[in-house]
Assembly symmetry: C2
Homo-oligomer: 119 residues x 2
Amino acid sequence: MDDACTVNLTVRYLTKKWMLLIILELYKGSAHTRRFSDLRDSLDGITPKVLSERLKELEEEGILTRNVDATAFPVRAEYTLTASGLEIVDVIREIKRWALKWKIENIPCGKQDCKVCVL
Amino acid sequence: MDDACTVNLTVRYLTKKWMLLIILELYKGSAHTRRFSDLRDSLDGITPKVLSERLKELEEEGILTRNVDATAFPVRAEYTLTASGLEIVDVIREIKRWALKWKIENIPCGKQDCKVCVL
DNA sequence: TTGACCGTGCACGCATCATCCATGGTATAC
DNA sequence: GTATACCATGGATGATGCGTGCACGGTCAA
């Protein structure tokens, strides 16, 4: 295993805590866009600090773009999945497919990560 | 996001450090089987302690089976992917496909995680 | 004026992981 | 027979990642 190989590196940051769940939340937003506080409220248990860090890392990797509307009331920061970010959802879909097949205790709950969710 | 949902839980342990890379190494072994010291040597940077912990977690999740040959010289512990474990490789394949498409600096290196690898 | 919301970033404490070492049993080297 | 190396595992101690709590500056509503 070569530390410089792209897939190895990709696994290392894509599997950082909250990464995939953040991408999934962005995917669920209209136009694949969500605001900071919206993400914070949707991802139960995430802290603003880590969310801020992760969004910055994802922007640096070209997985999302950050748009700040400074003219607005409280400043709005909006995050949108790029074309490459959209395709990471395929990875999450594969995880869901696996979980539904092998984790039979799964039940539909009407939320993002269940049988009836958008994936 | 419901903490009890299977996909959510699945993401949380599948994205723990070393998890996917361990599964990939097992997949590469003949009969999808590898010994402890073999895994330790292949996964550059992993510590024996964490490897031992991860293998235990993966066994508890039914992703691999553990076979100990106590009659052998130094005791051999062999780990083999189960049917469900084999299908997790599809997730890794999806990550590789994404990386090859969007991370153009990737180069073939003849090792597991490059264009010419087994995935 | 007061308070609430927004997105960030700091200081601090805990949980996870790395580093180093120890174990018991058996093979080979000398 | 003594020494040394390998094997898989687990404990003790540091380093790093992440959670907790708090504060900021700016603008709105009450």
